[in-house]
């Protein structure tokens, strides 16, 4: 049984990368950040290995339990960032992504080691597909939100003129806008596929795909916001500040449907 060992290695590598990124900001050396990116890539590779091994030992897509989902979310965020890193010079984004991944992995670590009892209704192909697609989509949309937030900060720094010293650490506007745009498009595709897979599963298990459940309502609301945002971007030619702002708002709603709904409402989307 080598799974826990692989998981801990990945967790440690994420921690190392986090430390590296923070150190690179402190000592202001690009070299340190570059090394941290390689460590992050190593963490991602080990993490990938972990997911494959777990898949083979448990026999189902390792995205069913909440802990597995958290681990998978970290994996998707990290992968998304690494892809963007090769396309644009936005190394500073890693200083946000690496700690986020580490945090998600810590949460995942709390429940991963124990044996999971998977309820019967969660067996089959639709549930892993649903979780896989929505989490990948959400990871990319989280990146879009992060890039959007950084865009707003950089935009503010450039407009305020005096804040030039601070803006030095942030990537150029164009790169941030491009990340926001790309992760938005791809995130939306995965997110939509995930919702559809969930609806198909709900249709077979609950009898109907849609039943005005709070979780479904909020998810749908954020989906509508993303549709609106993509329409504005592609058809109206929105760029920069407005797009960044809306991508943050939409993600806030999405985050609520993901985590907040359970605290305020009772939802049928609860399997524990």
């Amino acid at each position: 049984m080598m799974e826990p060992w692989i998981f801990k290695t990945a967790l440690f590598a994420y921690l190392l990368s986090t430390g590296g990124y923070l150190a690179s900001i402190l000592v202001r050396r690009v070299f340190v950040a570059r090394v941290s990116t390689w460590i992050l890539l190593a963490a991602f590779s080990v993490h990938t290995l972990f997911i494959i091994v777990r898949w083979r030992t448990t026999g189902y897509g390792p995205v069913v339990s909440i802990y597995e989902s958290l681990s998978f979310l970290a994996w998707a965020v990290c992968g998304g960032y690494l892809i963007f890193q090769t396309m644009t010079k936005t190394r500073v984004l890693g200083a946000f992504v690496a700690p986020l991944c580490f945090l998600l992995m810590m949460l995942a670590a709390m429940g991963l080691t124990g044996e999971n009892i998977v309820p019967d209704i969660l067996r089959g192909y639709w549930v892993p597909a649903h979780v896989f697609f929505t989490l990948t989509g959400e990871a990319l949309l989280a990146l879009a939100c992060l890039a959007g937030a950084m865009y707003l900060i950089q935009d503010h720094a450039l407009r305020a003129k005096k804040a030039f010293r601070f803006s030095r650490y942030l990537p150029p506007l164009r790169d941030l806008d491009r990340i926001n745009h790309l992760s938005l498009l791809w995130g939306f595709v995965f997110f939509t596929a995930g919702i559809l897979a969930g609806a198909v599963w709900a249709g077979t298990v609950w009898g109907k795909p849609w039943q005005w459940d709070p979780k479904q309502v909020f998810t749908f609301l954020s989906w509508i916001l993303y549709v609106l945002l993509i329409h504005q971007r592609l058809a109206i030619g929105w760029k920069g500040r407005k797009a960044a702002f809306l991508s943050i708002l939409a993600f806030a709603v999405l985050l609520f449907s993901l985590a907040g709904v359970h605290a305020f409402f009772t939802t049928i989307h609860d399997f524990s």
């Binding site: 450039l158 003129k161 010293r165 150029p172 506007l173 164009r174 929105w238 760029k239 920069g240 500040r241």
Partner: protein, 442 residues
């Protein structure tokens, strides 16, 4: 071994004097041949830029040498002694080393941190080598200076961030557009500063330049300069939609680019980011244009503010750099001291003793079995062989120390017997590091 540096720079000499000297010394090889024939010089480096003239020399006789060097500079620059004496500075020993290090790392430059000076020092050194007037000391000193400059550049932020308005414009453009490849620059009006900024932008990858001017001939002339496109003033609004970076510096009393024009241009360019730079006084661009989303407007005061802040920043970094220079001056002095005769003889003997001790230890197994008196005999034998062997080199060293060639001798002995490696252990700082770095081309 006296090292002397005589020179003048932008702080000590007015431009009229500097230019006369620089002009007549323009041809470095002519100056070199002149200097080379001065009798008391062993090694020399001659550096002449538009802001400074420096002569670094390793002299045989300090007092006479300095007078000769000065006389050479006076005659060379066609200047009277009185004129020049007030502008010249003379540094000796560690002071000369420190000055050279500061010059090479651009701490003594008019624009602190500018990168050209290091290249100029390197070129001056190349000249010295080509004219065979560099020797052990200048070689070592200059390579050390290049290393100091490198340390200062990488360990401090003295060379980062624009300290001129035109460079600030380039840096801001990069903050907005990331890369400038394929970006279009629109020059409205003409002026030294805007042309300089345009040149910097082109050098940093900007794709093309459009020049708009009230008089079309001026636009055509300027466009030829940049291999750009000339355009009439009435096409300004049309051109605004193509441009990514606009630099405006007309003499117009009112706004040349209004907020409405900017808004319309933005609409037609589908909200692609637009960077407006207004360096005209009175202003050319309506400040309201800067409030529009996806348009960034900087005027001359904004740019100047950035420059001022960066200058302040460089001052702070300069303090760090001075500390590095001090460290390195001490390190160089340390090295120079090893070139004295007496310590070299001492380390040579230490080395020999060390070898004897080591070899005796290795043979301990059979020496132990010898009788007491045989053991003593072996020891005496070994010592006398070594002493005989060392006798000649040591005597030569002592004799040579009376005349000129001593440095080369001492250096050769240290090199042949690897004495510097021997002393490494006792030394607080890194001979080690130095020899590592030596392998890289500087």
């Amino acid at each position: 071994m006296p090292i002397v540096l005589i020179g003048m720079n932008h702080k000590t000499a007015p431009v009229e004097i500097r230019e006369r000297l620089a002009l007549s010394c323009d041809d470095p090889s002519r100056a070199m041949t002149g200097i080379r024939d001065l009798p008391p010089l062993r090694e020399v480096l001659y550096l002449s830029t538009c802001n400074r003239v420096e002569v670094l020399a390793h002299l045989a006789d300090e007092t006479r040498g300095i007078d000769d060097l000065k006389a050479f500079i006076f005659s060379h620059g066609n200047l009277s002694k009185e004129e020049l004496e007030t502008c010249l500075y003379v540094y000796r020993g560690d002071m000369a080393v420190r000055h050279l290090f500061r010059v090479a790392s651009s701490l003594d430059s008019m624009v602190m941190g500018e990168p050209q000076i290091l290249g100029q020092v390197k070129e001056a050194y190349r000249q010295s080598v080509a004219h065979k007037v560099s020797g052990l000391l200048i070689n070592k000193l200059l390579h050390h200076a290049f290393r100091v400059a490198k340390r200062v550049r990488t360990e401090t932020a003295i060379a980062s961030n624009a300290v001129s308005v035109s460079y600030a414009a380039v840096e801001l453009s990069k903050k907005i557009f990331s890369r400038l490849d394929g970006k279009t620059v629109l020059l409205v009006g003409a002026g030294e500063m805007s042309e300089l900024a345009a040149r910097h932008l082109l050098k940093n990858g900007a794709g093309r330049i459009i020049v708009v001017n009230r008089t079309l001939e001026n636009a055509v002339r300027l466009a030829e300069d940049f291999q750009g496109i000339p355009a009439g003033f009435d096409s300004l609004e049309e051109r605004l939609k193509e441009a990514d970076i606009v630099i405006s510096s007309t003499g117009s009393p009112g706004f040349v680019i209004t907020a409405d024009m900017a808004r319309r241009a933005l609409w037609r360019r589908k909200n692609r980011l637009l960077f407006l730079i207004d360096i005209a006084v009175p202003r050319d661009i309506d400040p309201a244009a800067g409030e529009i989303d996806n348009i960034y407007l900087y005027n001359i005061d904004h740019l100047q503010e950035i420059v001022d802040e960066n200058v302040q920043n460089r001052m702070r970094e300069a303090e760090k750099a001075e500390r590095i220079v001090e460290e390195e001056v001490a390190r160089f002095a340390e090295w120079k001291n090893t070139l004295e005769v007496v310590p070299t003889i001492r380390s040579l003997k230490d080395r020999a003793d060390g070898i004897i001790l080591g070899e005796m230890e290795k043979s301990l197994s059979w020496i132990r079995d010898l009788r007491e008196e045989d053991r003593t005999r072996v020891e005496i034998l070994v010592h006398s062989v070594v002493n005989k062997l060392l006798h000649e080199p040591v005597t030569s060293l002592k004799e040579v120390s009376q005349n000129d060639g001593i440095l080369a001798y001492v250096a050769a002995v240290r090199e042949l017997f690897r004495l510097d490696g021997l002393e490494k252990k006792g030394r607080p700082w890194g001979k080690e590091k130095e020899s590592e770095e030596k392998e890289k081309p500087s």
